[in-house]
Symmetry: C3
Subunit: 353 residues, 3 copies
């Protein structure tokens, strides 16, 4: 792909794209700016990387409109755009090496149940097990060893990497990606305590509903509802090793980082951002666009949209940072207290004397 | 199932059951009270849901003996019991849709080792691998893709969902349920540090022993002992993504929520309740009925039964809440300190003056 | 194995080994000192276990050179060494029961792709799926149900337990052990936010590179790099349910305990020790030999080698313990403050009076 071809491709996607320098060179791969070589393309989206403009070996850099590159254009070509990061991401897609998750068609070793509907263009890998009455949308790719229990519905163009498990009744939207080892629809953790200290299992009769354009990382667990549905909205992105308990409702375009755990019946708004290892107690609500810092513990609802939360128990960032600063300052408070005590004692002595 | 039939069923299980209203209507499904429709049964176990009595469309509600329902019995029928929650749970079981984890019999694709004993009525799914000398109790159900290494023993009526892994020598009791992706009996994390900074693996020669009536969630890991056994008592309930390290001993009817991590050689008593994301350091002991709040970090033994622990490092709830309150109050302490300083300075000035 | 034979074996490995007592007895198994019986060998590496010398039934104990055992040598034999723990670990290896992870040879049900290279002495279990162009080193053992996507390279003498998933392009060194359910090389969690609140997936084009002598626990996830490689150094030991995000670099002989989560582009030095449930924010650096206490949250780089970190946000142990002590002492600070206020008021009253 020549620089001119890259220019043309990006112009189709973004408003303003200016090319500075030679457009004839062939670009063979994307690279990080620290390590980019001749024939490679990289980008600068953060000011602190501008220093690499003088030294990079990259043949093409994507930079912000405002960057003055004249000094370097004799040795490097530049594409100037409003959002260099996004432009580079779209370019990455052009260069991404085709990956085979499962060969075309249905593997001879796949076990397909009764009354299963399979759309056109589907790839089903070795040893996949699909239960009765499942529906697989068009162009889906199902990696080896994936197991769908009965009555699972999978929308068009969805991709399961090897060894995904979906329990019965799970419904999944279009263009969903689920990585290996994730378990969708296992029983919620519900037990009724008995007088003798033992527990009786509460049947988990609901399902999991996953919207369109969702991506779920590896070894994540999303439990089915006790009754009704656990709901993952459209465009939700979930990292690895995340736990979503029964009857959670996650709003559209919310992002949940690795190892976060959301307890039962939590309702989370749209476009929230949940940090890694965050914990969220059950039966509470977070408004749209709530952001939660890593490792925070949320113990109550926050109904005002757009709050940034941090700490344990989590509170709005400003309060929490003030609290943390004051807490770090305990040493000087103690010193002052001891000094006042000495001064007071001295004063008492002198006033008594 | 008519309301009269439900009445009769619950009377077999609970001491007192009074029916108020019409008993002829047919009930087709259970539902949450907020969404229940005509022909559905729901329940109220918590006072704050009593407000729904006036508006629910449910045909039948299970409520506490003490609730006065006369006002509503013209449109809804009621069953009054001492424990409406438990009654509803038992009713849920009646309505639960039969789920097929693995078809009856042994799948033709299952790989069964040598000298394996398989009880009557067992279902073994597609591509299951069972190692040499395993014993599978009567009526067990083993989902597709489960792998048992050699010398695993599985008690009667136990259920493995698809893709459970049991390492060699694991013994499992009766009526145990293990969800997909859990790994039982992997090597404990034990390495002997060497002078050159490297580590030598300590052979993990023990096993995992799991009692009767245990349920284990999805993607949980329970490591085998270095020597001897990691022991999970009867009736223990373990959620998803939990880590139990080598040589742990978990007492009967203890409950462990998602993403908790219990380090090596911890001994936990009976009927403990461990919150989500709790961490517990190694080689310590928790007495019977200890409760630990979510995200707490336990760094020492607590030998008094029935304590409620919270915080990092965890301490009894009362101390911890007092500590947290005082910590949240640092701002006013600081203000007071500054005020005293000003007053003292003024006093010194005036006494010197 | 007689005590004399054990003596001879350990003398080959360690500088000083003295035998006290009878050497003829046959030892059949290792055991913990609390439970060891006649015919068994145990060890004492910690002073607090010396009390068992008087009561143990073990036929052989491995103890430190400095321990005076004359009093007990009429009933127990002793081997005295400089490092009893390591000696016992090497002895454990002698007694470890052979475990079959996969039978010798390639199972008939294994699915092997095109242009796959398989070394001598390899064992490949039932239903294993190996993608095109993979290379499997000599004497590797690959447990049932493991899936390697295409272009995976596996060094000599490595062992995969059942149901490990490696995405395309992963390279793994020699003598590596990976436990069941771990997912190596899944896509990093990278999405470019769009103006409408949705996200565009950033292609994850890199790979995972794992060095020699690495052990990875069960259900752990190690993500591939966005570009370049996620790198796990030689001799690294990783526990269960650990998350290592894209582009992490973990130095040689570093140890990471269960449920720790390391965010993207973290560079960790050699011989670090990371506690359970530790979280580490992205794009930061930890120097060689950094130790991090369990549940700590690391929010910035620590470039001085050998620091011990603790708390949230993590800081050097000494500062953090001081902070925690002061924080626990808030009650008495408050009391003192209230007392000073009373005294000051009294003083003001008297000086005004």
């Amino acid at each position: 792909m020549t620089i001119l071809e890259i220019h043309e491709y990006l112009q189709q996607l973004f408003d303003v794209v200016a090319l500075v320098g030679n457009g004839d060179a062939v670009i063979t791969a994307p690279a990080k700016i620290e390590t980019a070589q001749k024939g490679e393309v990289s980008f600068v989206a953060n000011e602190k990387y501008l220093k690499f403009l003088a030294t990079t070996e990259a043949s093409l850099l994507i930079v912000h409109n405002s960057v003055n590159v004249d000094e370097y254009s004799h040795k490097t070509s530049f594409l100037k755009v409003a959002d260099p990061y996004s432009a580079f991401v779209f370019l990455l897609q052009k260069f991404s090496i085709p990956r085979t998750i499962a060969p075309k068609g249905i593997a001879a070793t796949a076990s397909i149940g009764q009354n299963v509907t399979i759309g056109e263009g589907v790839s089903i890998g070795e040893y996949v097990v699909i239960g009765d009455r499942c529906t697989i949308g068009r162009n889906c790719v199902i990696g080896a060893h994936t197991v769908l229990l009965h009555d699972v519905v999978l929308g068009d163009d969805s991709v399961f990497f090897p060894s995904v498990i979906c329990y019965d009744g799970t419904t999944i939207g279009k263009r969903v990606i689920i990585h290996s080892g994730s378990v969708i629809g296992a029983d919620g953790f519900g037990f009724a305590p008995q007088k003798d200290g033992s527990y009786v299992k509460i049947p988990q009769m609901g399902i999991v509903e996953i919207g369109d354009d969702v991506e779920i990382g590896a070894n994540t667990t999303i439990d089915r509802a006790t009754m009704g549905s656990t709901v993952i909205g459209n465009g939700v992105k979930i990292d690895n090793l995340v736990q979503l308990a029964h009857n959670c409702r996650i709003g559209d375009h919310t992002v949940i980082a690795a190892q976060a755990g959301i307890s039962g019946s939590v309702t989370m708004g749209r476009q929230c951002v949940i940090g890694g290892q965050v914990g969220c107690a059950g039966h509470l609500e977070l408004a749209d666009r709530t952001q939660v810092a890593a490792q925070a513990g949320i113990s109550k609802s926050f109904l005002q949209p757009g709050l940034v939360l941090r700490g344990y128990p989590a509170q709005p960032m400003r309060d929490q940072l003030k609290h943390e600063a004051m807490s770090r300052n305990l040493g000087s408070m103690k010193e002052k207290l001891d000094r006042l005590e000495r001064e007071l004692t001295a004063l008492k002595t002198s006033s008594e004397g």
